[in-house]
């Protein structure tokens, strides 16, 4: 009896205290500091100011925001375009369950591997004397090695490479949940393959598409080491910006201001996503 009575307040207390100490307070701290000024010696001077946000509204920073969103959008789109047919093929055309499982594990292995390692591996492939160039030279498509590393091309490829499993897994879950009878019903009513895809499969896998897009988009927004490694520290995205403020420029208030904007964006996206999906399906994304 006693055990039961203690367990309930204990867990609730546990949950609330963890949430407060490690989530609420730090994030309030972030938001709070964004309204303070920078101090040479102690990082922050407790003087209220809107200066940080004003500075962010200037052209230079707006450009960075815009660049980052464009990159994130681009990466998300490419991932979706690559993944959707892939998942359709695996889920739809392969009947054997254990083959499917095996193929899925093959996708999961990269998902569990450190993205740092995978990014580094991509460097090996893209560099001037790397695999891709050697192959293209060997086949005769080009006469001189192309600069494929340390530019936007590399950054996008690297981000897509790192994010692909995050698009594939939610899509796969959505596809597996799709009742095959709907496809039969559509065929029974005269739909050809194209119609079945556009009128039945895509609408009914919408939740997977949305989940995948959010995961990839948000994941890309915060990236800093991938652009740094693959872009050669030349291109600045939001992630690099924040990192620089904290470790190089020591301008914490500015850094937290950027982070706050990012957080608000994340929350807004999540709210929009939640409002538009039915409760039961919403969170059954990956697990």
């Amino acid at each position: 009896m006693i055990k039961k009575d203690l367990f309930r307040p204990f867990t609730i207390l546990l949950i609330i205290s963890w949430l407060t100490i490690f989530v609420l307070i730090p994030n309030l701290g972030v938001m709070g500091i964004s309204f303070l000024t920078r101090d040479e010696a102690n990082f922050i001077d407790f003087t209220f100011t809107l200066n940080n946000y004003q500075r962010l509204a200037s052209e230079i920073y707006l450009k960075v925001f815009l660049k980052t969103f464009s990159v994130a959008l681009c990466v998300t789109t490419i991932c979706l375009v690559i993944s959707y047919p892939f998942v359709y093929i695996i889920s739809h055309t392969i009947k054997n369950k254990s083959t499917k499982d095996f193929l899925l594990i093959l996708v999961i292995i990269p998902f569990w591997t450190s993205s740092l390692i995978r990014t580094y591996a991509m460097m090996l492939v893209l560099r001037v004397n790397g695999l891709l160039n050697s192959f293209l030279l060997g086949v005769g498509v080009i006469n001189e090695p192309i600069e494929m590393l340390y530019n936007w091309f590399a950054i996008i490829v690297g981000l897509v490479y790192s994010s692909l499993p995050f698009m594939i897994l939610p899509l796969y879950t959505a596809f597996e949940k799709l009742d095959h009878n709907y496809i039969n019903a559509a065929q029974d009513l005269g739909a050809n393959k194209f119609n079945v895809l556009t009128k039945v499969i895509i609408p009914l896998t919408k939740s997977g598409i949305a989940a995948g897009c959010i995961l990839v988009f948000l994941g890309t927004l915060g990236m800093f080491f991938i652009p740094e490694l693959l872009g050669g520290s030349k291109e600045i995205l939001i992630g690099n910006l924040i990192k620089n403020q904290f470790l190089v420029a020591r301008d914490w208030p500015l850094g937290t201001a950027i982070a706050t904007i990012l957080t608000i964006l994340v929350v807004v996206l999540m709210v929009v996503y939640a409002r538009n999906t039915k409760d039961t399906n919403r969170y059954q994304v990956v697990v």
Partner: protein, 254 residues
């Protein structure tokens, strides 16, 4: 399956694996900067093993990973159970927050924790790193265990109670064994995430406590070297082992 479809899916797999395969292959390349192929060697692996800095980084990483995974799994499982059993105000909000945390960019968590530690004047080092890792692992543990609990057949609990089981028995003899595979899976995921984490560790660790991903990161910034290839290959090997263990323990759904 039609030929075009087969070709396409193979291409995707090639894209996913080619860089990794290249990495593994080049880790045996005798050329120092991994340029032209100069024969097979284990030199880089030998160098790694004798690099004491790397060894201590590795030990540190494993220590943090084990501790943070275990603590996070403990707290996370308890939290998930609490959320499942008890309806309290804000439970829904809590779950939403957990999901937001899980998908938020790591960098936000990194700097927010940095600020926290600064606020309480804590020195950056082992303890801050540990706390940070527990914090970012918790949402994943909670999500995995709660998903399993939600798909739980309540009839089993009712049947047990009908046969006279007390709350404690229901928990220990029915719920726990059935969620055990999810708990283990959550532990493995937390362990892996902790081993691989770069961004959060970047912000909250101090100069006295090096962890592997950060060592690797600073190495990679200096350019491509064959020792890095060997190191990456080894880490990848460990991950593979973890995945296979996870799959066979957790065979229901991967």
């Amino acid at each position: 399956m039609n030929r075009l479809a087969r070709l396409y899916s193979i291409l995707v797999y090639v894209f996913l694996y080619l860089p990794i395969v290249v990495l593994i292959v080049y880790s045996f390349n005798a050329s120092k900067y991994g340029t032209a192929w100069q024969g097979i060697t284990l030199d880089w692996y030998k160098k790694l093993i004798s690099n004491s800095g790397l060894i201590s980084s590795t030990k540190n990483s494993f220590l943090i990973a084990t501790l943070s995974a275990s603590i996070a799994t403990l707290i996370g499982t308890l939290s998930a159970l609490g959320l499942y059993r008890y309806k309290f105000r804000g439970a829904k909000l809590f779950v939403s927050v957990v999901y937001v945390l899980a998908i938020s960019p790591d960098i936000i968590m990194g700097i927010s924790l940095l600020i926290l530690f600064n606020l309480v004047h804590m020195n950056l080092g082992f303890y801050t790193l540990l706390l940070a890792h527990i914090t970012f692992n918790l949402p994943f543990v909670i999500i995995i265990v709660i998903s399993r609990l939600r798909s739980f057949n309540r009839n089993l609990i009712d049947a047990a109670k009908d046969l006279g089981a007390s709350e404690w028995v229901v928990f220990s003899k029915i719920i726990l064994p059935l969620i055990m595979s999810s708990v283990i899976s959550a532990w493995l995921l937390a362990f892996t995430l902790s081993l691989d984490d770069v961004v959060i560790s970047f912000f909250v660790t101090g100069p006295n406590f090096e962890v592997l991903p950060l060592t690797l990161f600073s190495m990679t910034r200096l350019g491509i070297k064959s020792e890095i290839n060997a190191l990456c290959t080894m880490i990848f090997g460990v991950t593979l082992v973890l995945i296979f263990v996870s799959h066979f323990v957790f065979r229901r759904k991967v």
